[in-house]
């Protein structure tokens, strides 16, 4: 008989713990990190909306294949401009990333007391639902489906 740590049940416990680990809460806990993410996202959005070269994707530049996050900047800008169709065609996870970015921005500017409350609430939601982990894994599946089932259309769409 396998020891508990090697049995399927024993391995499922750390996996479950990993899935329910707060990710967004741990990122916004650091105000400097939140500030840097906010600034970088603002700069990227500004550059992309002006049609200037923004953050270059190392995967796309080197291998020629889009990464799971490719197209997100343009999708977010299209969504902000009210162009739902283009946004969802470019990247279906854009609304969720806008929500996550809004939380990061909010956590950056909030006073310390409210910030701690927000981080606590985020941590509770993430620990109870594992929502961030589920969405991240979903995003990887979404990317795989686009890459394996519609490769040509996906690559052409991202390369513009």
């Amino acid at each position: 008989m396998l020891p508990h740590s090697l049995s399927p049940l024993g391995m499922a416990v750390p996996l479950k713990n990993e899935l329910y680990t707060p990710i967004l809460a741990s990122i916004v806990q650091n105000r400097l990190a939140s500030l840097m993410i906010t600034s970088a996202a603002g700069l990227q959005a500004g550059l992309v909306s002006l049609g200037l070269p923004g953050w270059p994707c190392p995967f796309l530049h080197t291998v020629g294949l889009p990464c799971p996050g490719c197209g997100l900047s343009r999708a977010i800008i299209a969504l902000v401009q009210g162009d739902w169709r283009t946004s969802l065609t470019l990247h279906a996870f854009a609304p969720l990333f806008i929500l996550a970015l809004a939380l990061v921005v909010w956590a950056t500017i909030l006073p310390q007391k409210q910030r701690i409350w927000l981080i606590g609430q985020l941590e509770i939601v993430e620990r109870r639902t594992g929502i961030t982990a589920i969405l991240l894994i979903g995003l990887v599946f979404y990317w795989l489906v686009r890459l394996l089932i519609f490769p040509e259309a996906f690559i052409n769409l991202i390369k513009g």
């Binding site: 680990t21 970088a40 002006l50 049609g51 190392p58 995967f59 530049h61 990464c67 991240l136």
Partner: protein
Amino acid sequence: MAALGSILSVVGGIGSLICLIMVLIKMFPAEGPLKGILAIICTLYAFIWGWMNASRFNMQNVMYAWTGCIVLAVIGGALSGMGAQSALEGFNSSNLPQLALMVAHVADLAF
């Protein structure tokens, strides 16, 4: 110009990918697999995390190299774009007033 831009872009891209992998190697054990996945999806997060933890993991050189590669890739991308513009519209790069007009036109469209 476009060819030079493409070369710079590819060199910057390869360098960036190597640096990203080096940061991910440090990041996965330190932060767990989910943040690692987030860093693959959003390489900008890996870059920020890398700079914030550069001294902790002794990877300042990797981060300087990555920053340099990004600058190269951005310059390469801009040069490729200018080359494409030149090929499409017969743009003469020595004619700076035309470039200024084009920038003004882009700014006009954007705002």
